[in-house]
């Protein structure tokens, strides 16, 4: 198997540890969390933090494990075995979306106060970038942080914020200047227990239902100046770099979920008799699945190539964008095709494919929509 080219026995032990945890501590509760529309992230992260699952690549000094990208891929692949998309997404926000910038650009104070508790599972983190009028077009955001003495005063709103109702702090991107260009934004670690912060509502979504998604408001919220992450005015750049971690963390989910959906469809098609024969015997189904498997393999190998680039210290932004685009397209296509194989049963909420179909749809939108990824790739390619 190709896998053994990349993973050794130590990786296998890590894989087993995460898989056991997912099977025993997460999956038995997923139906309940999906029903409630929220998962108890403080409890889940506390357990994961104690085991060291949240800080794979982070320095030991800040509560991480000091491991490499291969270990991270193992953990991401195993978290993709969770029976819903909402919970692994919450975990990815905690480890790969809201905290990398604090580690890469933050002061020791911010690392001690926010990064360490997040990696230990004592604090829940959220990434607050998207606004009602600024999604993939990040530069259109309007939330403003005005410096007044030793504070910044934040006004504005953020929407579609994952972990938004439970977060203890936000990694927030705001304008700090009205000047045009990319040097008018700053990134902040914003605790959610300060006056002026409010959660306006928990949003109702098509999929990812166990993930709490919120709309947040900031009304003259005073945040200490020491909560600025990195350099004032460089927040957009910091966030673009943080996005690379975010996008990368989504990719293993795409190939693991695509395979899982095919497994479900194959199982169904073996037992479903149509015109006297199991559905799986139909050439059209077999060839369609073979095509998906081929594309999944390509995506997985591209992912491992990206890991090798990262390990060699190379910039993999173009390749990550390609994999994110491919992942978004593939998941949507495979989810649709596998639901089609299930026929009418696929529409029943009792089938697993139905939830996966709903949860998959986000991949082509979140963390930079397919169209934005295409633009990034075009730019990198000098088009």
């Amino acid at each position: 198997m190709a896998k053994s080219l990349y993973f050794n026995k130590e990786h296998d032990l890590v894989r087993k540890a995460v898989r056991d945890f997912v099977n025993k501590e997460i999956n038995p509760h997923v139906d309940e969390w999906e029903e409630k529309g929220i998962a108890p992230l403080h409890d889940i992260f506390k357990k994961m933090g104690e085991l060291g699952f949240l800080g794979i690549r982070y320095p030991e000094k800040w509560g991480g494990e000091d491991l490499d990208y291969w270990h991270e891929v193992v953990v991401l692949e195993e978290c993709a075995r969770i029976d819903c998309g909402g919970v692994p997404m919450a975990m990815a926000v905690q480890s790969n979306m809201a905290t990398p910038a604090i580690n890469d650009f933050g002061s020791d104070y911010l690392k001690e106060t926010y990064l360490k508790p997040a990696l230990k599972g004592d604090m829940v983190a959220a990434i607050a970038v998207t606004e009602p009028d600024a999604g993939s077009d990040v530069a259109a955001l309007k939330t403003f942080a005005k410096k007044e003495g030793d504070h910044y005063v934040i006004n504005g709103s953020k929407t579609f914020i994952t972990n938004g109702t439970q977060a203890d702090f936000l990694t927030l991107l705001a304008r700090t200047s009205d000047d045009p260009g990319y040097h008018s934004y700053s990134l902040f670690a914003v605790p959610t227990d300060l006056p002026g912060f409010s959660i306006s509502k928990k949003l109702d979504k098509l999929g990812m239902r166990s993930s709490d998604t919120a709309e947040l408001f900031f009304d003259d919220m005073k945040v200490p100046a020491k909560n600025l992450i990195g350099v004032e005015g460089e927040g957009f750049i910091h966030q673009m770099m943080q996005f690379q971690h975010e996008r990368f963390s989504i990719i293993p989910m795409a190939y693991v979920w695509s395979r899982r959906m095919i497994d479900l469809a194959v199982e169904y098609a073996k037992n479903r008799i149509v015109f006297g024969k199991p559905l799986i015997k139909k050439q059209v189904i077999r060839h369609r699945i073979a095509g998906w498997l081929t594309e999944i393999e390509c995506l997985q190998q591209l992912t491992y190539h990206i890991v090798r680039m990262k390990m060699a210290g190379q910039d993999a932004s173009k390749e990550i964008s390609m994999a994110k685009l491919k992942g978004g397209e593939l998941l949507t296509q495979v989810a649709d095709g596998c639901l089609q194989i299930h026929g009418g049963m696929g529409l029943m909420n009792e089938t697993r494919i139905s939830r996966m179909y709903r949860d998959c749809r986000l991949m082509a939108i979140g963390g930079g929509a397919n169209e934005v990824m295409s633009d990034v790739i075009a730019n990198f390619s000098g088009l």
Partner: protein
């Protein structure tokens, strides 16, 4: 306190076993795990040593591939291990117990020995008794609660009908662990990383003066369990169906 835990590397009970020849199975693609009952022993040993100090030594008799099971035990907190390597897939309880005894005598006798209540592969349920007998130690199997008081171990075991038996043993002794004794921990990442640096002393069975050919029980033949035949539909009126059902239960299945 020095505690030895005997850990067996067994095929996952969910694995599909394909026979290879008359007396072996194809183990190349089969997933192997720590014998689940042994994990209760590891957890108990590690917890005791965490409280009272000392060391936990894993003893495994098995093929080369058993190293992964040993590393898992070390990731749970065991300090070092001794791996006696075998060539064959099966070793009878007599030789296994002899090997365990020889290893423990050479390494220095422990204050406490854990085994699982049995292994989920061969299910002979003999090794722990043979080991205890050969070392002249007391043993209680299927222990679901254990407390240590000085040089005594108080062990509880379920004896059926919801009844529990409480037994007192002097240390050293052998404890056969079962479900209920504890909840085996998930290994922490730092412990997984530390596990790869811990010492595994490796030796061949022959170095202990044991020859696999001397086994008292030998594998004569392995056969696949025949697949269950499909459901049988009983047709006719209700009276006919009941009569036919009773006939089948009496004459064919012989269950009433």
């Amino acid at each position: 306190m020095k505690i030895c835990v005997c850990v067996k590397h067994v095929p996952d009970t969910a694995a599909t076993i394909k026979l290879a020849g008359d007396t072996a199975f194809d183990d190349a693609d089969v997933k192997f795990i720590s014998n689940p009952y042994d994990e209760f022993g590891i957890e108990e040993a590690v917890s005791i040593v965490e409280k009272e100090g000392g060391e936990v030594v894993i003893v495994t008799i098995g093929k080369e591939a058993a190293t992964s099971t040993i590393r898992s035990a070390m990731a749970m907190g065991a300090h070092r291990a001794i791996h006696v390597k075998t060539d064959g897939q099966f070793l009878d309880s007599t030789l296994t117990a002899r090997a365990l005894k020889a290893v423990m005598e050479e390494d220095g006798l422990p204050d406490l020995i854990f085994t699982g209540k049995g292994s989920v592969d061969t299910e002979s349920f003999q090794t722990q008794y043979r080991l205890a007998k050969s070392l002249g130690l007391p043993i209680v199997n299927e222990v679901s609660t254990l407390t240590l008081e000085g040089q005594k171990a108080i062990a509880q075991r379920e004896i059926g009908g919801g009844e529990k038996q409480v037994l007192e043993l002097g240390l050293p002794c052998v404890i056969g662990a079962t479900k209920g004794l504890n909840e085996p921990r998930y290994p922490k990442f730092p412990d997984i990383m530390k596990a790869k640096k811990k010492e595994i002393k490796e030796m061949a069975l022959s170095e202990l003066g044991i020859n696999e050919a001397d086994a008292k029980v030998t594998m004569e033949k392995m056969e696949a369990v025949p697949e269950r035949s499909g459901a049988k539909m009983i047709e006719g009126s209700v009276d006919d169906q009941v009569t036919e059902l009773v006939r089948i239960l009496k004459e064919e299945e012989k269950v009433i």
